[in-house]
Amino acid sequence: MTTGEPLIVLDAVNKWFGPLHVLDDVSLSVGRGEVVVVIGPSGSGKSTLCRAINRLEPINSGTITFDGQPLPAEGKALAKLRSEVGMVFQSFNLFAHKTILENVTLGPIKVRKEKPAAARERGLALLDRVGIANQADKFPAQLSGGQQQRAAIARALAMQPKAMLFDEPTSALDPEMVGEVLDVMTSLAREGMTMVVVTHEMGFARHAANRVIFMADGQLVEDAPPNEFFENPRSERARDFLSKILTH
């Protein structure tokens, strides 16, 4: 599971949106192959935390290190770092003017300069892996939400990333499509992918996570293995949160 130096390290990270202190002195490290699930009430800063790791949200103070290197500012170095960190969004964000296969091969061809034929072949294999190979030539709008999100996961995997960030990947899905996306994520976790997952899926947190992070008001309140967190939350806020979501 966790070996050697951690892959992602956040040290005393602060971020404000105007007067709102959205990340309040957050420190966290994620080991290689570790699956960390981030939960918490809305507005707690968990999405911002996830997006800060590949600098889609710049931070105001503190440091973020990925694979031993501090996050670069702008430019080519940042683009290279982002190519090594896969990201899956709540609203899929597939390129609307490109087919599913083109979505998956754009990064490898343009960023990694792979030969189109090789990128295509691997793209098709990835689409097959997430179970939508037969949708390769369709446009995103022709697919269901669950299929789109699986395509988005394939697009991120096509870059052969060192880590994957998931920003509420199932929150925009109809309930019957949540399972198919979580299945893909679970199999990724089993294969040893380093993952940071912001989600409200407590089932996924229980069975796939190595650690659960609980955030509230921009602060990292708890950091514990899933069993410990769900059976024995230490903080009042976590107990309160769990009682609200687990009673229904």
Partner: protein, 235 residues
């Protein structure tokens, strides 16, 4: 109304000259406007400031003043805008190559002024592309240029085409000013010539000139409507 038939060659000559400057100015404004738009959306703050400064200056200054600056400022700086005497191009657009520089000055003024509006029309298209598209592209490691080229611009031109058409139509009508800045013989200047020097009644002449402008603007508007309809189906 005989003037329309008797002086058809004068109208036709004016039409041809106005069409020439409009074609050249449209090409120039589209290119310069695209460059300014890229500056305005670039991630580098000084470049953004340059783009914003450009738009603020040229969008807010009357075209007449820009024309004055071109017609009097450039000679004061010692330039006859000879860089516009492009070999090949002047074979079609003969006025580019005349010794009197006013056609070139007027062209520069029209391009500078219109580019500010082109920039904003392009930018409104870029803003119409959901932010998530560019975010996804960035998260894959695409650079700013690749992001624009492969993800944002292919989706944004659809939203730009209608405002862009309005800008070009406005530019064609704005070109009527050039006759007052030393350009001899464009469509609106034919009014001066025919009513002043040759004593024709104004209204028939004005009708003739209007027809000339409508021949340029109406088909352009119709073309834009067609393009827009075709996209509506594609969507």
């Amino acid at each position: 109304m005989n003037v329309l038939i008797d002086k058809f060659d004068v109208f036709a000559g004016g039409f041809w000259l106005t069409l020439q400057i409009c074609v050249l100015a449209a090409i120039g404004a589209l290119i310069l406007g695209a460059v300014v738009a890229v500056l305005r959306i670039s991630p580098v703050p000084p470049l953004r400031a340059v783009g914003t400064g450009y738009v603020n200056v040229f969008r807010n200054m009357p075209l007449t003043v820009v024309m004055f600056f071109a017609a009097f400022g450039l000679p004061a700086l010692g330039s006859n805008a000879d860089f516009l005497r492009v070999p090949g191009l002047e074979a079609i657009f003969s006025r580019l190559d005349t010794d009197l520089p006013y056609f070139r000055f007027a062209l520069i003024a029209l391009v500078l002024y219109t580019a500010a509006f082109v920039c904003e029309a392009l930018r409104s298209g870029v803003n119409a592309v959901p932010a998530g598209q560019a975010e996804a592209a960035r998260s894959l490691g695409l650079t700013f240029g690749q992001n624009l080229r492969y993800v944002v611009l292919p989706q944004s031109w659809k939203a730009s085409i209608v405002p862009l058409g309005s800008v070009i139509i406005a530019m064609i009508k704005n070109s009527a000013l050039i006759g007052f800045f030393g350009v001899v013989g464009d469509l609106s200047a034919t009014a001066d010539q025919l009513t002043g020097a040759e004593g024709y009644a104004f209204i028939p002449v004005a009708i003739g000139i209007s027809i000339g402008y409508l021949i340029m603007t109406v088909p352009l508007g119709a073309l834009l409507d067609r393009i827009e309809k075709r996209q509506a189906v594609a969507r």
